[in-house]
Point group: C2
Chain length 233, copies 2
Amino acid sequence: MQQPKKYRYEYERPVLATDCVIFGFDGGELKLLLIEREKEPFKNKWALPGGFVFMEETTEECAKRILLEKAGIKNVFIEQLFTFSEIDRDPRERIISVAYFALVDKHQYEIIAGRDTLKAEWFELSMLPKLAFDHNKIVKTAFQRLKGKVSYQPIGFELLNEKFTLTQLQALYESILEVPIDKRNFRKKILGMGFLKALEEKEKNVAHKAARFYSFDKKTYKDLTQKGFHFEL
Amino acid sequence: MQQPKKYRYEYERPVLATDCVIFGFDGGELKLLLIEREKEPFKNKWALPGGFVFMEETTEECAKRILLEKAGIKNVFIEQLFTFSEIDRDPRERIISVAYFALVDKHQYEIIAGRDTLKAEWFELSMLPKLAFDHNKIVKTAFQRLKGKVSYQPIGFELLNEKFTLTQLQALYESILEVPIDKRNFRKKILGMGFLKALEEKEKNVAHKAARFYSFDKKTYKDLTQKGFHFEL
DNA sequence: TTCAATAAGTGTAAATTTAACACTAAGATT
DNA sequence: AATCTTAGTGTTAAATTTACACTTATTGAA
């Protein structure tokens, strides 16, 4: 059935949407959360979770809503990435997408496929399928941004559990920056910055010396920053 | 007379616009190009040049068109800044703005007020008036971006004439980074990167030793970049 | 034509940061 | 008890960064 078209404007208007690039990490390679589309266009193709912006929400609120509705994710790091406005990026009509990227502690979520979604799955960044729309381009932009940003802002921690070992942290940086890092130099540098809190707790049930857990002390980091400290890996 | 409202949609849609933050430099402080609005809302207030996005253009094309139409500026560095989507940012109705920032060689343009514009004028960044809409916020975001970016991408040159002296270049960096820089160290570093071409030409009619002109050699820079070189000031 | 004023242009040494590198410690499994 | 695996640790050389002052070229005034 045809819906009534009750909104009338003097000038033609594009549709406004957001798409979310969701990064996760579990020790190996960096991962990306994709959904399989339930509807046309690109039915049964993998895509970034996305949706239309409502009139009573900002694009950021929209992105957060989509994270929750389509993947059950909330309270995570989210940042505006870029606005994609190519005229033919959607085959239906002109849709402009404000893309966001999110950093998620992958283990904290049992990913659930939500509305308009058949499946939701984590993919290795280097093994992505061909995605719907211009989503491969959006992902590429997002990874470049993450890679560029991770060295001068402490956002890597968002991908790890609250408690993490220095080896996990190093593996994360190696995987984002795509270079090997010297263990001793890495530890010296990151601990020297002074915002990692050593916890009493250690790993359990590992067939080797148990590693100490650390946590990112946001308050200390903020204090340091206000004193002119500048994170740089 | 009321125009016919010929576009009908099932769902309500916001309007899409772009606004341009245009930076210029003339040796003293960093400057910003503002226009005085001819129409309501904010009639006679200073604002960023901006306008609505047409259906047959991307937001970047729109920003370039606005630069040309409202300020007579073309062929300059332009980069997407951020998309501002607060619900009440425009008193008329919901307008989402994709903001761009541009870097202009101020001396190359006789700024001309264009359509819907009473005046166009350069303002010192530290002496801005209260602007229309959320434009003060947009400017703040743009300056932060410029400040952050200027140290790791060679975009400062876009604000200078093709030929410039090292003193001019240093003054530019000092003004953007808001810190004093040691002359000898600055020269050593920037010349050491190898992409500044020393010209034969020197300053004329100056009451002191005439400074040599340099130019930014894009080709050399590109070659260096491909060999893994990374600009860093 | 000489002098004063002004900004251009230049090098070195000390301090700091970065890079390279290998063995011992602890816990689990056999 | 022996083996496997990863955690954890310090030093030295090299490279980079910082701090710093005088000579040179040009104009304009005396």
